[in-house]
């Protein structure tokens, strides 16, 4: 996420994130293109299949993909949409894992996203020990909620 760091600091925005932001749309298109048109999904599948820890594999692959997409789009994705981009990419990685019959559970996906957040904060010099303890207190059952 080097591109993000280069962006100028601005006051916290007060508006809801715009999913139609051109840079965000471009980054998402690029991610989908890499995954499926350039067959990166095959490599993702192999990594998922060889990984011992499903959560780690999901988290690392999605995080690396998000980082790469952000770099390739010169960090033009608005900061408030990076989280959404990471979630979308993680969702795609989870879809691939499900196609591989790896038995991904909602809790696995939630834990993967948690690790993405912790990794990002850790790489930016934040002591994530207390944060991780707080996160671990969340009842896993809340991730098993069905549709509205």
């Amino acid at each position: 996420m080097a591109g993000l760091i280069k962006q100028k600091m601005s006051a916290p925005e007060t508006e809801a994130p715009d999913e139609n932001n051109p840079a965000f749309v471009q980054a998402l298109k690029f991610a989908m293109s890499v995954l499926y048109e350039q067959d990166a999904a095959d490599d993702v599948a192999k990594q998922l299949n060889s990984g011992q820890d499903k959560v780690d594999a999901l988290s690392n692959i999605a995080y690396d993909l998000t980082t790469t997409v952000d770099e390739k789009t010169q960090g033009q994705v608005p900061r408030e949409l990076i989280a959404l981009l990471g979630m979308a990419i993680l969702k795609e990685v989870v879809d691939i894992a499900e196609a591989m019959k790896l038995g991904i559970t909602p809790k696995d996906a939630a834990d993967a996203f948690k690790q993405m957040l912790l990794r990002y904060l850790g790489e930016n010099g934040v002591d994530t020990s207390q944060l991780q303890q707080s996160m671990d207190k969340i009842d896993p059952k809340v991730f098993e909620q069905q549709g509205v």
Partner: protein, 343 residues
Amino acid sequence: MSKAVSGVGNAIGGVLKGAVNLVKDVGNGIGRIVKDIGSSKIGKAVLIAAAIYFGGAALSGGFGASAGGGSFLSGMSAGVSSAATSLSSAWTSAMAGEFSQAGSTLANSWSTASNAGAMTSPGYVAALSSPSVSLTETAAAAPEAVAPEIATTSGTSSANTVTNTPLGAPPDQVSRMGANQVSSMQPAGSQYSLSGASTSGLTAPTGVYQGAGYTSGTGINGANYANSLYTPSSPGVMSSIWNSPYTAPALISGGMQVGGAYIQGQAQEKQLREQREYEARMVEEARNRYNTNVGAELWDPNAQAPIYQAQGPAFDPYAEARARAAQVYAPAQTGLAAKYMNA
């Protein structure tokens, strides 16, 4: 490029075909990413995780709705919507390195989402649709009717009044204290009261220990009497020092020094004793080595000194050798000539 993107395999395994079929039409519906993510069970889990771990909004909204009698997830949905702004702001702050600001914003998002979730609950909706209530119809009763009630109950309430029931017969152990003491432990009626009106003027019972600080006539419940029982009039020096917040540390420190000096002295004495024993042992060993290596008894135990320093005749190996050689090589002359020569 990341490891995941690099080294794309050429062949697509059959098991992956399902995944390939999931290729999204990124040109359509890009504005509904959140809805797309939440369309599946796992995607919804990711949304919930995002809301909890970073926004903290959706769950709080769900809780609010549940508390109001509504659906958890309906409230969660409202919470997500209402907290989207907070979530965005928090993420922006975190991205900018303002993690403390992000944390503060996240905390606010929890509160905001909780309120939003509660507002979707049926109970809240019913409350909004209920008819208004006239203030005049629900006005409280006149206050003057309450005041006499308080005055009446305050004198008879068992929680606030100590009854004057005399003590029963004392047990055997108490009887051994003496008649005066036992009688003093059975106060007459109305001696004890929370009001304290009848406690003045009582004297301490006969036979009960009265400390030095007791002043006669202040009453059995008086402070002087109580203090006299539990406070010694003239505590010892050590007690005074020990109870003083100023001198107690010094006492502790001094005690530590005394104890330390004692321990140190014991250690020195032991060390000296061991040193003496060691030296004595070394002398004995040196003496033994000396005697053993020489091969002869050179030590005179009577004189406590080597033989060559002793007063007695010393052993002369040369003289001994000459004597033996004379016996061997110079035997007594027994021939005719020798007989005559010795004459």
